[in-house]
């Protein structure tokens, strides 16, 4: 299998924050506010409650994984079918190789149609391309309308979770932001804060000229985009402005409306535990003759941005992802360090797989290692992505490419040498066990191992002084 990773150099590229995982994770662990905020959400428990009424949940998971695999197996043919049908219904289909292409295409549409104000429903692909900054650079006003995204935009930050973007914020943070940006009296009640956001954003919905959304799926049968929301901002964004632009990845195509029906049984249950989201919006082309509402133009931008590199490799299963967030909600590492530590758009287990594949393995060296491989994520993933396996394979690729730190490489070489020489191995472990015992002292705990960060936050239990082999030999003799 060829390595599905970009780049020929082992040097991390400037600008990707994922390379600073350790420092970022450390900062988050020491940030009491982030730690408190993260505890407010319990999406994992919500999922558990949500799936009980689907007694054949496992069968539906198997079916959903098969549906996604079918799309991926003939991806180009499905995409062409989507394009043909969408075009026939009046949608303009664009293709973006890179993140820069996305931004260029959106800016071109905005300039051609004289748009000055853009309202956005949630789009993670637009986070990949830093679309907001690009649009602002081109002189456009951009307003995020998902409440979480709006909060994060006011704070000048990025989302820390794919379905709960402001999971790291407390109500006090939101109170300060709204007070500063809206110029209203400070309030901390979540209800009042939500109503204030409704009031301010309603104004934008009525005056936005371009609506940008993601698309949870593209439907090849009908040339439709599907967006799944709870707040209603997705509906607003596709109904009120005169231009609608949907941005999504090449992997998001489904064959039929029936395929969508099957997958939707799992998506929201896995995400928030609801049996269905409040709004499922299927958009098929612009406003029709006689329609009183809807956009005059509809555009779909289909983005590669590194995705095709996973196809046909041992990483392909990751492209099944339906972005429910269950893997991060169940990840003990994510739950402690939060989404920003991962340093790029997608956090948690799926982020640890996608980020190195999309932006280059050398730019996200710690991510596949930021997991205990406990397989909580693999168990809950509604499309059965074997996330721990994929992380393990990425670790192997790091070793193959010589990307691991020299201490680790030398250490493993020494260990390999000894493992092949039982006498040397026995001698070394005998010495090490005795030194360890000394270091452990009366309590039997080692407080500091030289040159190793592991003991910075905890002690390690000292060896008893004899190795297993010695004890075994002793027992055989007696």
């Amino acid at each position: 299998m060829s390595a599905p990773v970009s780049g020929t150099t082992n040097k991390p590229k400037e600008g990707y924050q994922s390379i600073h995982f350790k420092t970022r994770a450390h900062d988050r662990l020491n940030d009491a506010k982030v730690q408190r905020a993260m505890r407010n959400f319990n999406l994992a428990a919500a999922r558990t409650r949500g799936i009980v009424d689907l007694e054949n949940f496992e069968d539906i998971r198997t079916a959903a994984a098969a549906i996604r695999d079918r799309s991926l197996a003939h991806l180009d043919v499905w995409l062409e079918r989507f394009e043909r049908e969408a075009t026939r219904r009046g949608t303009v289909v664009h293709w973006a190789e890179s993140h820069d292409d996305i931004n260029r295409i959106v800016i071109e549409i905005a300039q051609r149609t004289g748009v000055r104000k853009v309202i956005k429903s949630k789009s993670m692909v637009s986070e990949e391309s830093h679309l907001n900054a690009a649009l602002e650079g081109a002189g456009l006003k951009v307003v995020e309308t998902d409440l979480g995204e709006y909060i994060v935009q006011l704070a000048g930050e990025t989302p820390s979770h794919i379905i709960a973007p402001a999971i790291h914020k407390t109500r006090d943070d939101v109170a300060d932001l709204f007070h500063d940006h809206h110029g209203t009296p400070r309030k901390t009640d979540p209800r009042e804060l939500t109503m204030e956001a409704r009031k301010f954003l309603r104004e934008h919905f009525l005056t936005g000229e371009m609506g940008i959304t993601g698309a949870n799926f593209l439907i090849a049968e009908t040339g439709s985009t599907l967006i799944v929301t709870n707040e209603g901002n997705g509906r607003m964004t596709t109904t009120m402005p005169r231009i609608h632009v949907a941005i999504t990845g090449i992997e998001k195509v489904l064959g039929t409306l029936e395929d969508a029906a099957c997958i939707l049984r799992l998506l929201t249950r896995s995400a928030t535990g609801q049996s269905i989201s409040n709004y499922l919006t299927f958009n098929t082309g612009p406003k029709r003759d006689g329609d009183a509402d809807g956009p005059e133009e509809m555009h779909v931008i289909i983005v590669d941005g590194g995705r095709s590199r996973l196809l046909g490799t041992d990483m392909q299963e990751a492209l099944r992802c339906i972005r429910c967030g269950a893997c991060m909600n169940h990840c003990p590492v994510y739950q402690n360090i939060g989404g920003h530590a991962y340093g790029w758009v997608y956090p948690g287990p799926i982020g640890s797989v996608l980020t190195p594949n999309y932006i280059g393995i050398e730019n996200a060296i710690d991510l596949p290692n930021a997991a205990t491989l406990c397989n909580q994520c693999g168990v809950v993933c509604p499309v059965k992505i074997p996330l721990p396996d994929l992380m393990r394979k990425l670790r192997e690729k790091q070793v193959d490419r010589g990307l691991r730190p020299w201490q680790e490489r030398v250490g493993l070489k020494v260990w390999a040498w000894m493992a092949k020489r039982p006498a040397a191995y026995a001698l070394f472990t005998r010495i090490a066990a005795r030194i360890g015992r000394r270091m452990g002292g009366a309590q039997g705990l080692i407080h500091k191992l030289p040159g190793n960060g592991w003991t910075e936050g905890r002690d390690i239990a000292a060896p008893e002084g004899k190795t297993f082999r010695e004890l075994y030999a002793q027992r055989r003799r007696s």
Binding site: P190, R191, T222, R235, I250, T256, I276, F282, T284, D304
Partner: protein, 215 residues
Amino acid sequence: MSARDSILARIRTARGAGAAATEAERAAVEARIAARTPGTRQAVAFELVPRFIEQCERMASTVDRVATDADVPAAVARYLQDKDLPRQAAAWPAIAALDWTATGVQVEGRPARGDDLVGITGVHLAVAETGTLMLLSSPTTHATTSLLPETHIAIVPTARIVRAMEEAWVQTRSELGELPRAVNFVSGPSRTADIEGILQIGAHGPFRVHVIVVG
């Protein structure tokens, strides 16, 4: 090469296929679409109307039931009174054409505006499995009516309730041929939990969804 062609070519290379999609591949995709195989669905059996009502309530909609269309205006008036809401609404033209004179509710058949407080719609179909309203956009079934007002009242004839989304698609294809600009599946009032994970009913869409089942 255009971005489109190079993306498609890269996908084909990755999956070990020839340079361009063959007729056989296209035919296989068309056959798959034509078959429209339903995916695995919820296994339990249920009766349509009771299940629909139960699931509406689970999604925080309120439900009333009346015998005929002629009873609808009085049911709407009762609801507005109970909730202390204005007796004024934007509605789909077919709903506005009902006889509202005796109710004192002023119903206008037009798209909703940003300042309308009550919107009244019918449905194309309703889905029992999840308590969901299926709304289609058209010149006479405006998308804004169920979106902009704080209160959305939906009139659902029992004959339009189907089991699951799969049945909704089959029936829509046979009745309409192709999809309209927008198909919205609405399940209860809008909501968010983006501040500290605390559920708030009423985000950007309606605060209240009231379903009047007819028949």
